[in-house]
């Protein structure tokens, strides 16, 4: 009686096992690497109905974020401007009034325009947290967290791109150690702000008033320390007593 199985089958079981293990490892590795907002959301750059250029408006022209996103300090939702706000500068006889890119704006706003529909412009949302997580803009911008912390340098983006993962672990990173993300309140919308440029005298004066202590005491305590983001943030955190919540119900309610 000859061999039922030919020679090459001797290693077949091992080959299948090794192959499955290797490919399985790859699948797990890919899932670990790719099925996270760092991969699925970062880089999202949808095309907008009107190619609004943030790097021109907020960067070159130096307009404040709050010119358009006017309710960000009063509302959980940072509003998109009504078409009227665009229209204030791009209406008839004003900037780029005849640009073909603004066709949708004319349709929405210009009653005398033949294509007038009055339909709002359907901007595409770029940054989004899941509906079961509640993020409030108001609480963050009024406590020294700049737009740039979550949205990146929008003033340098011709097309807005999702830059930070906005995942839960990413939120918690900051909620556990908020100091390094804080900045003085009047620099919130200054996306190019650098801690090194902060005037230490005025800053200490502000702190001293806020914490009911003296400038000299504060300065003495900081002697020899590096004047950087961490130091400034730590002071602000203490002065404003910032204690970001970390329990589930603070965002999932």
């Amino acid at each position: 009686m000859g061999n039922i199985f030919p020679r090459w089958t001797n290693l077949l079981a091992i080959k299948i096992l090794v192959g499955l293990m290797a490919l399985g490892t790859c699948v797990v590795a890919v899932a670990w690497y790719s099925w996270t907002p760092k991969h699925t959301r970062v880089g999202y750059m949808p095309e907008q109905p009107i190619p609004f250029d943030h790097s021109l408006h907020a960067g070159q022209l130096g307009m404040d974020c709050r010119y358009c996103h006017s309710q960000v300090e009063n509302s959980p939702h940072s509003n998109l401007p009504a078409a009227q706000v665009c229209w204030n500068c791009h209406g008839p006889g004003k900037a780029k009034a005849d640009s073909p890119k603004l066709e949708l704006l004319r349709q929405a706003m210009d009653v005398n325009y033949e294509g007038y529909t009055g339909k709002p412009i359907e901007w595409v949302q770029v940054h989004k947290v899941p509906d079961y997580a509640h993020f409030t803009h108001q609480a963050h911008v009024n406590r020294g967290v700049s737009c740039a912390e979550c949205h990146g340098r929008v003033d340098q983006m011709p097309v807005v791109v999702h830059e930070k993962p906005l995942s839960m672990s990413w939120c918690l990173e900051c909620h556990r150690d908020p100091g390094k993300s804080l900045r003085p309140l009047d620099e919130i919308t200054n996306l190019a702000w650098k801690a090194e440029d902060l005037d230490s005298k005025a800053f200490y004066a502000y702190l001293a008033e806020k914490m009911e202590t003296s400038v000299s005491k504060l300065e003495k305590a900081d002697e020899g320390k590096k004047w950087d983001r961490e130091l400034i943030g730590a002071h602000l955190q203490k002065a404003w007593s910032v204690h970001p919540p970390q329990d589930c119900a603070s965002c999932h309610y």
Binding site: C26, S34, H39, S70, N88, K94
Partner: protein, 205 residues
């Protein structure tokens, strides 16, 4: 055996590289593994809703709606929330007494240091792009303007203007300037006027 390892290597790297590196730019909606509760069928701010005929989630108040907290009809209205928008026909809300623009600040606001600071901040955000940080009409945006120059707010004309008229200009616009009642709360408009008066005094003209 050699072939086995070769094919295995190719297959594994194909899987590993299939989804590409992090941070690649893309424009299609993000992939979601378990989208179940991420996108709930609820009305969200400034979002469309299929539930309503015109597709808009936000509803316009029915004609004749009286805002919550408004005593109607009103002679005077007190600012109750930080988000107060015009809700009456008092001087504070309109800048007018009947058919005439009023002079001076309404009694609802207290012009003090904090109020001026607020005015300065709002002026910088909303007015300075065109009128300039000092109010002289040479803002960054106005340089891109092709048509008439932006008003110089330090002008004798604006200096003589009653507060109520400036309020009305901010609220409804004037000439090429559009209305700013949608993005500036009533109190902030008065704060801006107070700061503008300070600028005009400082200009010394």
């Amino acid at each position: 055996m050699r072939w086995f390892f070769l094919i295995l290597a190719i297959a594994s790297s194909a899987i590993a590289l299939a989804l590409g590196p992090r941070g690649t730019k893309f424009s299609s909606p993000p992939f979601m593994l378990f989208p179940d509760m991420d996108n709930q069928q609820i009305v969200k701010p400034q979002k469309p809703s299929e539930f309503f005929e015109n597709g808009q989630g936000a509803r316009k108040p029915v004609e004749g709606t009286v805002p919550l907290g408004l005593e109607f009809p009103t002679g005077k209205s007190a600012p109750t929330t930080p988000l107060d928008f015009s809700r009456g026909d008092s001087y504070y809300d309109t800048g007018r007494f009947g058919d005439y623009f009023g002079k001076g600040f309404p009694e609802e606001v207290k012009v003090d240091g904090a109020f001026l600071e607020r005015g300065k901040q709002r002026f910088a955000i909303t007015c300075s792009p065109c009128h300039g940080t000092s109010g002289n009409g040479h803002g960054a945006v106005s340089k891109y303007w092709l048509l008439p120059p932006t008003a110089n707010l330090l002008d004798a004309r604006v200096k003589k203007m009653p507060e109520g008229q400036i309020f009305s200009t901010i609220t409804h616009g004037q000439g090429l300037m559009g209305p700013y009642n949608g993005i500036l709360a009533v109190k902030d408009r008065w704060a801006i006027i107070a700061y503008l008066r300070a600028l005009q005094n400082a200009s010394g003209k």
